[in-house]
C-alpha cells in the first residue's frame, strides 16, 4: 500500500512563512459566528418548535419513515403476513425474522406487488376511516399499533400534471382529547423507482385536534409532476405525535396525456 502523504493541519500552515498562512483559522475570516452561543431554555426550544412548521423536521420525519419502511420495520410487519408461507421451512418464528431482514428488498417488492394488485381490483374508494386510540401506556403495545397498516388509494388513475385527491377520516375513539397533530408523507415511489417528492403531498386541514368520539375529514392532495411516468406510486403517511397513526398512500398515474 502506498504511504499516504503527510497532510498539513491549519496550525502547521501557520508555522510556515507564507502570507496565505496569516490568520489561517477560519475563525479569523471576520464572520460574526464566534463567541458564546445563546442558551435557550428547554421550554423556549420546545415552544419555538411548536409555534411554526419546521421544514427540516418534516423532512427528517419523512426520511425516517422511508428508511424504516425499507428496512427492519417493514421486515417485521411482513413477517406476520407471510408467516404461513414460511412456516413449513421453520417452526421457530425467531428464525424467520433474520431471513426477512436479509431479504428486505424482496419483502419491499412483495409489498408493492400486493398493493398494486389490490388497487387494480378495487373500484371507487370514496374514503377510508382510520381509527386510533389516544394515549397508549408506555411500554405496552397499543391495539392500533398491532393492526395492519391501512391503504389509502386514489379511486381512479390520475394523469401526470394533474392533482389526485382523496379523503381520509380520522376518529378518536379513546377517552381523552388528542393534542394537536399534523400529517406528513414520505416521497412516493413507483415500482420502477421513480419518485414524487413528499413536498407535493398536502393535507387539509394541516393540523387536527379531536375530542373523544370526534371524527374529522382530511383531504389529501398529490400534485403529480408532468414528468411522472405511469405507475403506482406508494408513500407512507404518518401523524406527528401519534406513532400508531400511519397509513400507506397509493396514487396511480396513468400514461394518458
Amino acid at each position: 500500500m502506498a504511504k499516504p502523504r503527510a497532510q498539513r493541519t491549519p496550525s502547521q500552515h501557520r508555522a510556515r512563512n507564507d502570507p496565505d498562512a496569516r490568520g489561517a483559522s477560519p475563525a479569523d475570516a471576520g464572520t460574526p459566528e464566534r463567541g458564546p452561543i445563546d442558551a435557550p431554555s428547554t421550554a423556549e426550544i420546545a415552544r419555538g418548535f411548536g409555534q411554526r412548521t419546521s421544514v427540516v423536521v418534516q423532512q427528517a420525519a419523512s426520511i425516517l419513515e422511508e428508511e424504516l419502511a425499507a428496512g427492519i420495520v417493514a421486515a417485521r410487519q411482513m413477517a406476520d403476513k407471510f408467516m404461513g408461507t414460511r412456516s413449513a421451512q421453520s417452526s421457530n418464528p425467531e428464525d424467520l425474522l433474520p431471513r426477512f431482514r436479509k431479504d428486505a428488498h424482496e419483502v419491499v417488492d412483495m409489498l408493492i406487488d400486493v398493493l398494486t394488485a389490490g388497487t387494480r381490483s378495487v373500484g371507487k374508494i370514496a374514503q377510508r376511516v382510520v381509527r386510533f386510540r389516544v394515549g397508549p401506556i408506555a411500554g405496552k403495545k397499543s391495539p392500533a399499533a398491532a393492526e395492519s397498516v391501512p391503504v389509502l388509494s386514489t379511486p381512479a388513475p390520475v394523469t401526470a400534471g394533474e392533482a389526485a385527491r382523496l379523503e381520509m377520516s380520522v376518529e378518536n375513539d379513546g377517552a381523552e382529547p388528542t393534542e394537536q397533530f399534523e400529517f406528513h408523507s414520505s416521497d412516493l415511489v413507483s415500482e420502477t423507482g421513480h419518485r414524487i417528492a413528499a413536498s407535493r403531498v398536502t393535507f387539509h386541514p394541516e393540523s387536527v385536534i379531536l375530542e373523544p368520539g370526534q371524527r374529522a375529514k382530511v383531504t389529501i392532495a398529490v400534485n403529480v409532476p408532468d414528468s411522472s411516468p405511469a405507475g403506482a406510486y406508494t408513500a407512507v403517511l404518518q401523524a406527528t405525535k401519534m406513532g400508531q397513526l400511519r397509513a400507506m398512500l397509493v396514487v396511480r398515474v396513468s400514461g394518458d396525456k
Binding site: 489561517a24 477560519p26 464572520t31 452561543i37 426550544i45 423536521v57 424504516l68 428496512g71
Partner: protein, 346 residues
Amino acid sequence: MATASRFRAVERLLGRYLKLTHGVLDTLVPRREPRRHLWDLVPLYHRRGGKGFRPGLCLATCRAVGGDTRSALLSAAALELLHNAFLVHDDIEDGSEQRRGQPTMHAAHGLGIAVNVGDAMQVLSLRPLMDNLYTLGPALTHRIFQEVEHMVHESVEGQAMELGWVRDNSFDLNESSYLRMTLKKTCWYTCIHPCRIGALIGTNGRFEPDVFNRFGYYMGAAFQIQDDILNLVGEESRYGKEIGGDIWEGKRTLMLIHAMNHAKATDRERLRRFLARARARRTARDVRWVYSLMGKLKSIDHARSASRQLAGAALREFQVAFRGLPQSPEKTMIEQIILYMIERDL
C-alpha cells in the same frame, strides 16, 4: 461558554455511567501479545476522554424504564467499543490528525496498525454481546444482536454515502441528502439504538422500542449539526480536532450544502473548483474564503437554527417516548441531554 454549571447533573450521571462502562471495557482487552501494536493501543481512545453519550443513553434508558443498569453494562460496553472502532477508522477516512487533543491512532502509529486496532475493537465487541446470554437469556441476547447488526449496517452505509460525496465531488446535494446520511451514519448508533437496547434490556424485551426512533433521530441530527458547527467556530483546545478541518476535507455538512445551494453563480463555481481540488492542493486562503462565504450566506446561522428545531422536535418526541414512565434522575438526564448536546462547546 461554560455548560457545566447548567448541566452538572447530566455530566455527573454520564460520568458515573462512563466509569462503569470503562470498568467492563478494561476486562475485555486481552492481556497477552501482541501488546505494543495491538492490545495496548485498544484502550487509548476510550481512556482519552469523551462524554460516553452512547453507553450513557443505554444505561439511563434501561434505568428509566425500571431496569437494573448492571444488566445493560455488557451492551453499553459493546456500544462504546464499536463507537471507538468507528472513530479510529473515521479518522483515517477523513485524514484527521487530532482526536480529543492528541494525535489520531494512524497519525501516531501508522495507517496499517490503526486499521487493525479499529478491527480489533469491533472483534472485541462480540464478546460482551455473546456474554449477555448468561444474564439476559437467549431470546433477548438474540434481539440485542439484531439491534446491533442493524446499527452497524446503517452506519457503514451512511459513512459510504458521505465518503462517496467527497470522492465523487458531489455538488447536487440538498438538506434531505444530509439528513438521510446523518440518520444512517450517526443517529442510529449514537442515539436510537442505545435507547432501544436500554429499554429492551430494562423490560426484558417487553418495551416497544420503535417509540425511540424519531426521538433518537432528531436528537442525533441536532447533535451532529452542532458538532459540524463546532468544527468551524469551536476553540481548538477544547474541541480536540483541528478547527476548519471539515472545510479542508470538503465534508458535505449542512453549512456547506446550504452554501452550495444559495451562492451566486460565480461563488458557486469557485466553490466547485475548491472542492474539485485534492486536499493537499487546497490553501488556507481558500478555506478562509469558504468560511467567509458561509458567513455571508448565513449558512452557519441556518445550521444552528436547524439544530435547534430538531432539538425542539426531540423534546416533543421525548414526551411521547417516555410518557407514562415515572420521574427519575435518568429520565431527567435524557431530556436534558438534548439541550446539552446542542449547547456544548466541545
